[in-house]
Symmetry: C2
Subunit: 482 residues, 2 copies
Amino acid sequence: MTKIEERLRRELGPERVITDRQELRTYECDGLAHHKVIPAVVVLARTTAEVAATVRACADERVPFVARGSGTGLSGGALPHADGVLIVTAQMREIREISAADERAVVQPGVINLQLTRASTPDGYYYAPDPSSQQICSIGGNVAENSGGAHCLKYGFTVNHVTGLEVVTPDGETVKLGGKALEPPGYDLIGAFVGSEGTLGVATEVTVRLTRLPETVRTLLAAFHGIDRAGAATSAIIAAGVVPAAIEMMDALAIEAAEAAVACGYPPGADAVLIVELDGPAAEVAAQFDEVNRLCEANGAFEIRIAADDAERALFWKGRKSAFAAVGRISPDYIVQDGVIPRTALGEVLRRIDDLATGNGVRVANVFHAGDGNLHPLVLFDDAVPGEAERAENTSGAIIDLCIEYGGSITGEHGVGADKAKYMPRMFTDDDLDTMQLLRCAFDPDGIANPGKIYPTPRLCGERPGKHRAGETADRDGAEVF
Amino acid sequence: MTKIEERLRRELGPERVITDRQELRTYECDGLAHHKVIPAVVVLARTTAEVAATVRACADERVPFVARGSGTGLSGGALPHADGVLIVTAQMREIREISAADERAVVQPGVINLQLTRASTPDGYYYAPDPSSQQICSIGGNVAENSGGAHCLKYGFTVNHVTGLEVVTPDGETVKLGGKALEPPGYDLIGAFVGSEGTLGVATEVTVRLTRLPETVRTLLAAFHGIDRAGAATSAIIAAGVVPAAIEMMDALAIEAAEAAVACGYPPGADAVLIVELDGPAAEVAAQFDEVNRLCEANGAFEIRIAADDAERALFWKGRKSAFAAVGRISPDYIVQDGVIPRTALGEVLRRIDDLATGNGVRVANVFHAGDGNLHPLVLFDDAVPGEAERAENTSGAIIDLCIEYGGSITGEHGVGADKAKYMPRMFTDDDLDTMQLLRCAFDPDGIANPGKIYPTPRLCGERPGKHRAGETADRDGAEVF
């Protein structure tokens, strides 16, 4: 590594390059904190040229590189490589353009999600994707993970909001994908790049759609005895053709945690609460809000509160948004899981998660985006109790198996990263995975861009996969060593 | 070709394989009828296995293949290869599943766009992308071209509605991309495949989102003296935060043609008409419809008609939908152009198109999706008059240059195909195009999947592009021979 260190110091200046072991520890993990790797070198990039110079150095020396924004990811996508360079984009925080006429903003990747919304508000706009970490997570990280959030039910994921990217590819070239227009000719590499978790290169500038602030926002909180009823209400709302901005659900244990942490004052005795938010033109929201209210009642809500003002609305959300951290009040340790199931299976899957928890002797709190079936079970445990961590891990893994069994997905919005690569073969056939890896090999034949993430079996890129047909006897596995 | 012909007859049965020269002529062009090439062989596929067997035969013999649905494309995307196999998917017409609960349909690629809507209507759903050719165009062709339509302003393009694909890749493998869920983990190859115009393989099964039929649809027709006023009204509607299902514009010459063909009875003396359609919940539509009406008046509409019922609404659309064909009534020949400009530049660009037409001594009728700046200038000419065809071609090309000059795109919804590959370097740098071709080479290293389409300079796929950096002296062009 000495050679690449020297080159980076020379090309970028010594203050951009960290190699002191103690300083490197700052970057040993992202939000998935139980995976830790100390990188060999950290580069604090400020410009596209600095990112490109770093990647070129890595390409020339065949040294792995990993990009990192704010480091809030929950699947270990920004977990460093022990022999690699970690490229930190957190200092690339310039908002380059906000154009209300075009409904677009152009930002550097280190810009914080909520900052962009704040900067757009004076023009009557905001940036719609809103991960729970929006106060701290970066747009670049959102692009890597195709981040979602509570309001993605109506507004879609990051990929639905990115129209242009400047990208440094794994060979160090700087290219433009897309632009301000929708649907340019040629291959839509924006779609492939957003959510590629750093395996196709590093985004150095991002052009996003801005969304007009809604005329009205109305929010209600409905409390239920029996979590099935909350699930049925969710399905009924969607089946009625209403698309709320958000439908969030919390179960009794999650409510207990939130009350302990932020005293949100949810209706006592609830097995589940739904937070339903509608936004849009006042006339539409008024009509649909009555419908949602009626459907919650019809499905057995024992109390419905309608936010009278922004303060009360903020209080409804405070409980939900603090839920992950709040669980720390009722359990020393916990695992955040992220999986997707069909909405129609909500009640059944939640019962089976409960059975799993009981069987494994752990507790599971459920907080999730009910509207799109995106579960976030929090598996509680105490690392000090021998065997509990393992039982929690098993429970968390079994929940993912459940999601697959019901035709869902191993991740809704946290990404695959280092954490879930092992589950990919349960969702996809070898041929499907091979086809995806064609793209990876095309961009990164030497396998230096965030290796070990997403795909469980790295492939020797010189070999063309998918050439094994009936009647051929080639040893397929022979091509799959790294 | 004898060898591959024999193999195809043997594997698929002789009735699936056409080699008779007269029969082959049926397939010599698609909707871009002035480009004609007779293919060497036509295969009429019925199943995924038949498509896969055909592509495998082509891969083994390194014979080019081109897929074709209904052949209605307007950029020559399905133009055959003289030494290649044309795979016709028009007989793959099975609707395999319509699931209202999942809001999904699964279809074979030959299913006609409008058929799918008709089959979904009893459940209260429809398939939203609606190209003007929807009565005859196939879903497979829509996938290849990422087709749009009048209502894509609100509902998005084909890519926004496809969630899963079964694809035969250029080496003959059958793989699944995506599924019924949104945003699965791994690379989003759906985005890249939709709109890849047959260069990454052949779609053999398509899973699409179904859209709930709106509670209400309301349509108005506004007539203007001065096309600028119609442009200003369009911008004002969008700026007001209204997203109509469609905003269509026709100019005086297009109106003249439509009147001659279908007697649609638009207000006499109009320089431009706008058709604005709103759909959605009744409460929202009612409120926004008043706003649209007001904005048309404020921008100088001299007559506004509101469709009283479905019959009158159909009459408004009849003029618009017949406009392309109607132009045949007032001109022996015409070229349909397809380009995109920023909405805010509508008036200015239309004036410059008018100047171009005058300068070249041809007439241009404008019919277009005003809401998203997608122009369809129809350049009229008489092939019997020496030099007119050339002047029309020049005018049509100059219009594309205008679109690029204003920061727009060389195609809005018709694709690049054989027709516009030459314009791609005007929109993209060499590095950008190289990066796109990485994907093509990964899927199709031998260059047999619809060669010559989209990209102007086919690349020797063994060479890695993008390796030329400052200070290197390699002859870039040397890597680009085919």
